[in-house]
């Protein structure tokens, strides 16, 4: 991650007005922040906090009431900035009468890509998102997860420098979610900048380098995930399994230094880890199953 800003937002305000031009809702209020090159940036907030409005202003789908946005050094209304951007919308708003190949070919043409490159990119992206067997099926026959996958593929058709993902894991099963998160990290490793907004805090925590939390259109938190989540007034020690005597001894040491032992327990795995482990084992040993005790 470099210190060069890919997205610069200065004093951004968006006011929705009614038919007569009277202010109705102040969706974003004096938002200022930067997204740095090569980072995974998470935009968090409850419903109506202004994160989707912010993304849409970045993309030029909405016009700011006040303030300035520069993306890759260009104004948000400059069409040429889109050459370097990939966007996965919240729902996959694609043309449902096209099949996967046609979809990627269409978006490739919009980037003025030559035929050979389009074919190559289409083929590799379809394989990457795991839709090889469904490449000739119209999107209207796709499940929600499959639609998210092809949506992601279209966002990457131009090998973008900046990827904007709106709820990227929405509609995906745990395996798809894991793959999506791995892909986001892979994109970061390739030097791309990723901006994602999501309600799924665990997903954001897993992949984001920095986050911003919005509430009522205002920026409430901004910083590195590791820094924001670290509790400086607590200490956590993880070790291999210890006998009770050792635990009592450690408690005594903590008390000696005026500390309080709040909890001693065996850590649990996350449900995601359990699920992925179970699926992986099932693939290796298809006949194995759990018999419910009578």
């Amino acid at each position: 991650m470099s210190s060069k800003a890919v997205i610069e937002i200065r004093n951004l305000t968006k006011i929705y007005r009614d038919f007569w031009g009277r202010p109705k809702v102040r969706a974003v209020n004096s938002l200022s922040m930067d997204v740095l090159e090569g980072e995974v940036f998470g935009l968090l907030g409850p419903n109506g906090s202004g994160k989707t409005t912010t993304i849409k202003m970045l993309l030029g789908l909405l016009f700011p009431t006040e303030g300035e946005i520069r993306i890759l050094g260009k104004p948000a209304t400059d069409v040429s900035k889109n050459e370097e951007i990939g966007y996965l919308p919240e729902e996959s708003y694609l043309y449902r009468f096209l099949n996967a190949e046609e979809t990627l070919d269409f978006y490739g043409r919009l980037f003025n890509m030559p035929a050979d490159e389009r074919r190559r990119r289409t083929d590799s992206l379809i394989k990457m998102v795991g839709l090889d067997k469904a490449r000739r099926r119209q999107l209207k026959e796709y499940s929600k997860g499959m639609t998210r996958r092809i949506g992601l593929a279209q966002a990457l058709i131009n090998n973008p420098k900046l990827v904007l993902l709106d709820e990227p894991t929405s509609g995906l099963d745990p395996i798809g979610t894991r793959e999506m998160k791995d892909l986001i990290l892979k994109l970061r490793d390739e030097g791309k900048t990723v901006v994602m907004c999501s309600h799924l805090l665990a997903d954001v925590q897993d992949v984001c380098d920095r986050i911003a939390i919005l509430y009522n259109g205002e920026l409430k938190q901004l910083g590195k995930v590791s820094e924001l989540l670290t509790s400086q007034d607590r200490t956590k020690i993880v070790s291999t399994s210890l006998p009770d005597a050792a635990i009592e001894e450690i408690k005594a040491v903590i008390a000696k230094y005026n500390g309080t032992t709040e909890e001693v327990s065996h850590p649990t795995n996350s449900l995601e880890e359990l699920f992925l482990k179970t699926v992986a084992e099932s693939q290796q040993r298809p006949g194995q199953r759990v018999v419910q005790p009578r």
């Binding site: 030029g60 889109n82 050459e83």
Partner: protein, 539 residues
């Protein structure tokens, strides 16, 4: 319907277009400037000029590949949304249409007209609604379903979306019109009775300018009105000095065609005079007319033998190259070459007199014409299909434009209204402006209503300078509005083909082409800025 083709005045049309486009552009730019300055208090003026700059870039920096992609998408969308089902309706119509169209009691050429009209109207009525619905619903649906979001977040200019959509629908429409026209043409060839086959031609007329002399032989504005409420034709009295005079222009040797009876090159005249009888006369005898060829400069008057008027048939008259006539001054019969009567610039004057006393012959300008060598029926038929195509293209342009600023149903209604009422509204507004409607001025009419003045006569009081000035200004405004409403009747060439005429370039095809082209640039600008200035995600 009056059938009176008028050649287009290209210079005048371009001037009118320039005035209206210039005024609208200036208005649009001024309103845009004011709105930008008012709504964006801090940097409104700079935003305005940046927007204009982007508009220029978007107009001149369009990419053919991106437009091609949107065209392909549009075609696929139309096909997969089953727009081509229109062919099923077309097939059903043509499978059974023949059963209801044949009428053995009808004259051959009229029956032929019924077949041709049926085919061309069927194509129009099938193609135009499809074009209307596709073009009006596409962009609003894209916005509603947000599929447009994935397009505009790519490096696609809004101008490319507009052009791509218009071209895409034009491609699918062209395909439909092309196939239907081809099938319709074959259907006509197979369907018409063999006896009528030789009538499948495209007559190429040269029309003259018509003027009248009254019964005293003096210049008259028109002939006699015999009481017909339709004043299309006016009548000349028989056995009097009343004359109908046609002045033809641009005639040359090329106008001659081979007379099948003597295989000589001759001039063919066709007429369609109407008779009006003040007494029954001889029941089995038709009226006669006399044709005199006149060259005033050479003081030559060549009276040809009188000729019967077939009121319910074809009236063809061959004029040979070598003409015999009686020179009254020289008191001798003489010979003259037909083209000695034609001026250097191809002008030829023909006088028509009604021979029968007490009877009248009615005529309008297109009732007599010189018939140039005929063209094939295919040429007139496919030119009529071209008219349908141009109409479809204009509907697509208007539909796509409307759909950039209103939703699908409203865009459909707006475009449909323009198509349905465009021609009548255009005619009415033109009548208002040209003064055909008496007391047409707003203020003057108002005064007329208050003072209970006769609406059928012009104001006697003359009005004050102010009322006349306001009425003149209103008239200018109405003139402008009349040109903003497309006159779709300019594309209706079916009448030509159904009557066996070629579709003339100057009085039919060019006006249509200019009408279509005239709307392209303003519609493009309107659609582009509507889409550009619109927040696609606005709540």
């Amino acid at each position: 319907m009056n059938f009176d083709p008028q050649p287009i005045d290209i210079a005048e049309s371009l001037k009118n277009w320039g005035i209206i486009f210039g005024v609208l552009l200036t208005l649009g730019l001024s309103i845009g400037f004011l709105l930008s300055a008012i709504l964006n208090t801090k940097d409104g003026i700079s935003r305005y000029f940046v927007g204009l700059g982007e508009g220029m870039q978007d107009t001149f920096g369009m990419s053919c590949r991106r437009i091609g992609a949107i065209v392909r998408l549009t075609v696929k969308e139309s096909v997969r949304r089953k727009a081509l089902l229109v062919f099923v309706v077309f097939a059903i119509l043509f499978m059974f249409g023949g059963w209801f169209l044949s009428n053995v009691n009808e004259r051959d050429e009229l029956q032929l007209g019924v077949y041709v009209s049926f085919v061309l109207k069927a194509i129009s009525w099938l193609v135009l609604p499809v074009a209307l619905l596709l073009s009006c619903w596409s962009i609003p649906e894209d916005i509603r379903l947000r599929s447009l979001h994935t397009v505009v977040t790519k490096p696609v200019r809004r101008s490319e979306i507009v052009v791509g959509r218009v071209l895409g629908f034009s491609v699918i429409g062209s395909l439909i019109v092309g196939i239907m026209s081809g099938l319709g043409y074959i259907w006509i060839l197979r369907q018409v009775p063999p006896t009528v086959g030789d009538k499948l031609i495209a007559r190429v007329p040269v029309y003259g300018k018509l003027s009248f002399l009254d019964r005293q032989g003096l210049d008259a504005k028109s002939g006699v009105n015999t009481g017909d409420i339709n004043e299309f034709r006016s009548y000349i009295e028989g056995a009097s000095k009343a004359r109908a005079i046609w002045r033809f222009e641009g005639l040359s040797d090329d106008a001659l065609r081979t007379n099948p009876e003597n295989q000589q090159p001759e001039l063919l005249i066709e007429n369609n005079f109407q008779a009006f009888r003040t007494h029954k006369g001889e029941i089995n005898q038709v009226l006669n007319y006399q044709l005199t060829l006149v060259n005033d400069a050479k003081k030559l008057r060549v009276a040809l033998p009188s000729f019967p008027v077939q009121e319910f048939g074809e009236n063809l008259r061959w004029i040979p190259r070598e003409l015999s006539y009686y020179d009254e001054e020289a008191q001798a019969s003489k010979q003259v070459d037909l083209f000695d009567l034609v001026d250097e610039d191809g002008k030829l004057t023909m006088e028509i007199a009604c021979v029968d006393a007490g009877q009248f012959l009615g005529m309008a300008q297109p009732d007599m014409f010189v018939r140039l060598p005929d063209r094939s029926f295919a040429s007139t038929f496919f030119k009529s299909a071209l008219g349908i195509w141009m109409m479809m293209a204009l509907i697509i342009v208007l539909g796509v434009t409307a759909s950039t600023f209103v939703k699908g149903p409203v865009a459909t209604l707006l475009t449909f209204t323009l198509v349905l009422f465009g021609a009548p509204a255009h005619g009415f507004l033109n009548d208002l402006v040209s003064g055909k409607v008496k007391r047409g001025g707003l203020i003057e009419s108002g005064i007329g209503i208050l003072t209970h003045a006769n609406p059928n006569v012009d104001s006697q009081a003359g009005g004050t300078g102010i009322t006349k000035g306001v009425d003149r200004a209103m008239s200018g405004f109405v003139w402008g509005v009349s040109h903003l409403v497309p006159d779709f009747s300019q594309f209706r060439y079916t009448e030509y083909s159904a009557r066996g005429f070629d579709v003339p370039m100057k009085s039919a095809i060019l006006p249509g082409v200019f009408l279509l082209l005239g709307f392209l640039l303003p519609c493009f600008l309107l659609a582009y800025f509507s889409l550009k200035l619109r927040e696609l995600e606005a709540k």
